[in-house]
Amino acid sequence: MAELPEHLLRRSAEAKAKALGISVEEAMAQLKGEAPPTPAPTPAAAAPEPEAQSAAVATAAPEAAPETNGHAPVVGDPTKATSVRPVAPAVGGPEGVRTQRLLTVVKAKAIQQTKAEPQDKVNTWPHLMIVEFASLLAVTGVLIILSIILQAPLLEAANFNATPNPSKAPWYFLGLQELLSYFDPQIAGVSIPTIVGLLGFMAIPYVDKNPSNKPSDRKVAIFMYTFFLMGSAVLTIIGVLFRGPGFNFTYPWNDGIFFDDLKDWVPIGLGDGH
C-alpha cells in the first residue's frame, strides 16, 4: 500500500477515534497497522455524537441504512459499531455480501487553503485612469508652455579649435564632474559611478535585509538615501552655478552663470558669463 501522508493519516485517525470513542493515538496505531484493531468498544466507550455516527454509518455501510430507517442510530449497538469499524477487504466473504471500508470523515470545510488576504481594492477604470490622465495632461501642458517660452540652446557650430571655458557636461553628470575636481579620475570618473552608482544601487535590495517598509523601522536606510540625494544635489548645484572659467569657483550673482543649458532660463539682469 502506498504510504499515506502523515497529516491525512492523522485526520483519518481523529475521525476514527471520534466514531469509535477510542483515543487518537490508538486509532493512529491501528491505521498504521502497529496494533490489532480494538474489539467492539464497550457501550460506555462508544458514545459518539449522534450526527458523526449517522454520517459514518451512511458512508460506511449503505446496507445498514434501511435498518436504521431514518431513526437515530442506536448508540452503543455492538453490531453497528462493528459495521463502522474498518474491515479488511472481504476476500473470501459470503456471496452477495459487500463490505465497505470507512477511509476518512472529511470535515465540511474547503480543502484548498486561501493564503491571500482580501485587500481593499478599487476599479482601475475610472479611479486610477482619471488620475493618470489628468497628470499626463498637466505634464503635456507644462511642457508645451515651457517649449514656447524657452528656446533650447543652440550655440555656434562645433569647432574643434575653440575650446569653451569652462566646458561642462550635461547637468545630470555635473555632480560627477564636480567630484573630478576633488578626486583622482580613476576614483571620481570610474569607481564612484560604476561601483557606487551602478552596482551599489543594484545591490540595495540584497543588502537591505530589513523586511519592513515602515519609515520608522528604516531610519538608517532613509538617512543614507537622503544623504546621497542631498549630496548629489549639492554637487550638481555647485557644478551648475558656482563653477566658472577653468572650473574655478565663482559666485553667480557676481559673474553670472556659466552653464549654456541655462542660457535662456536666466532672468534678465543676471546676464550670462560670456
Binding site: K121, I144, P153, A162, S167, P205, I222, Y225
Partner: protein, 253 residues
C-alpha cells in the same frame, strides 16, 4: 431639400455611433461604444479589452490610486518616453547625422519648419523632464521600501532603465553638433578613458575614433534613435510585467 440634408448630417454622429463598422472597432466594454453603461462588469472590460489599458490590472489597491502615493512618476516617465519618441521621429525627418549638415539642419528646423522650433524644444525639455522623473521615481520607490521582497529584481531592472535614460539623453546631447554638444560630450567621454586597463579601448568604442569626430556623430545618432530605444523598450516591458507579477503597487506603508 436643404433641410433634409441638414437633418441627415445631424443624425450622422448617432448613426455612426451604433454602426457596424464602429462597433467592430471597439471591443466589448469600451466606454465609447453605443449603449455603454457603468457597471462593475463594464469597468473590468474597459481595462481587459484595451491593448494599452491592460498594462493595468482590473483592480488596484485603494491607497495606490492616491496621487500623493506615487505622484504618477513611473507612469509619467513612460509617457515622456512616448512623447520623446513622437517628437524624435518628427525631428528625424529634418536631420542628417553628418558633420557638414547636422548643425545647419537644426538651424533650419528652428527657423523654417512649421512647429519645428516647438517640437525641438519639447524634445529637449522633455528629455530633461524624463531624467528627472525617472530619478524621482527611483527615490519614491526607495522611500516606500518598494524594492523589498518580492520586488528586488525589478529594482535592478529599474536601475538599468535609469542608466539607459541617462545614456539616451547623453547621446542626444551631441546631435545638434554645436559647441555645447561637442565639448559636453568631450568632457563626458574623457571619463571613459580612465577605466582601468581598457580605458582607451572603451573610449575608442564610444567615440568611434580617438576623439569626438564626425564618426562619433553617426555612431551616437544610431545609438540614440535605434539601439538604445530598442534596449530600453525591452527593459521597460520586463519592468512593467514584473510590477504586475510581483503583486502590483507596493504598500500600504
Amino acid at each position: 431639400m436643404v433641410q433634409k440634408l441638414l437633418d441627415r448630417v445631424k443624425e450622422l454622429p448617432s448613426a455612426l455611433h451604433g454602426s457596424k463598422v464602429v462597433d467592430s472597432i471597439l471591443r466589448p466594454g469600451s466606454p465609447m461604444k453605443a449603449g455603454y453603461s457603468d457597471s462593475p462588469r463594464n469597468r473590468s472590460y474597459v481595462i481587459m479589452n484595451n491593448v494599452l489599458y491592460h498594462l493595468h490590472p482590473v483592480k488596484v489597491k485603494r491607497h495606490g490610486v492616491r496621487l500623493s502615493y506615487t505622484l504618477c512618476l513611473g507612469g509619467l516617465s513612460f509617457f515622456l518616453f512616448i512623447l520623446l519618441t513622437i517628437t524624435g521621429i518628427f525631428l528625424m525627418f529634418y536631420y542628417a547625422p553628418t558633420a557638414e549638415a547636422a548643425y545647419q539642419d537644426i538651424q533650419e528646423l528652428s527657423t523654417s519648419v512649421a512647429f519645428g522650433s516647438l517640437v525641438r524644444n519639447m524634445h529637449r525639455w522633455g528629455a530633461h523632464f524624463m531624467v528627472l522623473t525617472v530619478f524621482l521615481h527611483m527615490s519614491r520607490v526607495f522611500y516606500h521600501g518598494a524594492y523589498k521582497a518580492p520586488r528586488e529584481f525589478n529594482w535592478v531592472v529599474g536601475v538599468v532603465l535609469l542608466l539607459l535614460t541617462l545614456l539616451l539623453s547623453f547621446t542626444g546631447y551631441l546631435l545638434p553638433w554645436d559647441q555645447l554638444a561637442l565639448w559636453a560630450v568631450t568632457v563626458g567621454t574623457n571619463m571613459a578613458s580612465f577605466v582601468p586597463v581598457f580605458g582607451s579601448q572603451v573610449q575608442f568604442t564610444l567615440l568611434g575614433a580617438v576623439a569626438v569626430s564626425a564618426d562619433t556623430l553617426l555612431r551616437w545618432y544610431v545609438l540614440h534613435v535605434l539601439f538604445l530605444p530598442f534596449i530600453i523598450v525591452i527593459f521597460m516591458a520586463i519592468h512593467f510585467w514584473r510590477v504586475r507579477k510581483d503583486g502590483g503597487i507596493s504598500g500600504p506603508l
